[in-house]
Amino acid sequence: MGCREIREIISAYVDGEARPEEARLVEEHLGGCPQCRQAEKRMRDLGMAVARTERAPPPDFREKLFARMEKEDLLPKRRSIFAYSVRWAVVPLAAAAVIAFFVLSSREIPRDHPSTAMRPPTATVIGGELSPEDREIVASLDVLEDPDLFDETEIEELEFFAPPPRQRG
């Protein structure tokens, strides 16, 4: 095979596209042909010039393209931050509404099953001990339970002993 005929195979060989038998043929030829060896080198060097023709994308390329696509209805529009805020605010608001509903509706439970919240406040002994005034009232309780044991003047005295409303804490 002459140089002219084998150059096309050398071109494929440079690109790594020669078949194994073609590659063997090229290598044999290059071993004995300085002109084709030089041609092979220059073919490889040409690739360097191709690599230098790359261009950076224009800075506004993306914005221009996406604007055109949105205009043609080819690209879903990005939702605004406000739209996202409203959408995500719905979840906690809905949860709060559900909790509030259950809390409020629990106050209307039938009286047959009074909740702890519905019970009247019970008397508690603050500090664990009765004051002297409390002791005097407690001592008079048996009198209150049996009205026949006292007269009207005693009742007035008992009213005097009634302790003022106690403040907790």
Partner: protein
């Protein structure tokens, strides 16, 4: 990481993020290809925009039969070809050498390794780049596309054949002819 085909399927179902990911993956190669095929920055940008618009319009009927990249280059090649034809019809384009083949120009040219370039050689490199782009534009479109897809974009001969719709043997011949013509054009700069 999702494949290009999966992203196309998501985009078809209305995902903007999927298209943005596809764009991020492929826009550089599309711009480079269009620049090499048209030889002009503004024309390349216009053509590249059109390529992505066509990809978006074709999404509803896209079938992942071949590599997504091959499909993108097929669209890009058709788009640039239309641009060049339109320009030729309107007389805006420098005439393209209809033959551009048959010259044996591999002799007499030696390109130094760019890694060893100094300031003078860098300036020379810029001139070479300009001349190279001009030389590319003088090639017949079929040879230019084959050469650019293989040497510029890194597609195999088989992938180039798929993009151009020709046989692998035809690709081999076209790339060889492109190479010879380019070396002939650039010899004046180097000798």
């Amino acid at each position: 990481m999702k494949t290009d085909a999966e992203l196309m399927a998501l985009y078809r179902r209305g995902s903007r993020d999927a298209f943005e990911e596809l764009f991020a993956r492929h826009h550089r190669r599309v711009i480079h290809f269009c620049y090499r095929m048209t030889g002009d920055q503004s024309r390349a940008e216009e053509a590249a925009q059109e390529v992505f618009l066509r990809i978006a319009r074709a999404a509803p009927t896209y079938q992942p039969m071949a590599r997504f990249t091959t499909w993108v280059y097929t669209i890009a090649r058709r788009t640039t070809l239309n641009f060049l034809r339109d320009e030729k019809e309107h007389g805006e384009k420098v005439s393209i050498d209809p033959t551009g083949e048959g010259r044996d120009a591999a002799d007499g040219i030696a390109l130094p390794d760019s890694r060893e370039w100094g300031p003078e050689q860098s300036a020379w490199g810029a001139q070479l780049q300009e001349r190279f782009l001009e030389a590319l534009q003088k090639l017949p479109e079929v040879n230019r596309a084959a050469f650019v897809l293989n040497r510029g974009e890194g597609l195999s001969y088989e992938e180039v054949a798929t993009v151009l719709g020709v046989t692998v043997q035809a690709v081999k011949s076209r790339i060889f002819r492109a190479r010879e013509a380019l070396l002939a054009e650039l010899s004046g700069l180097l000798e």
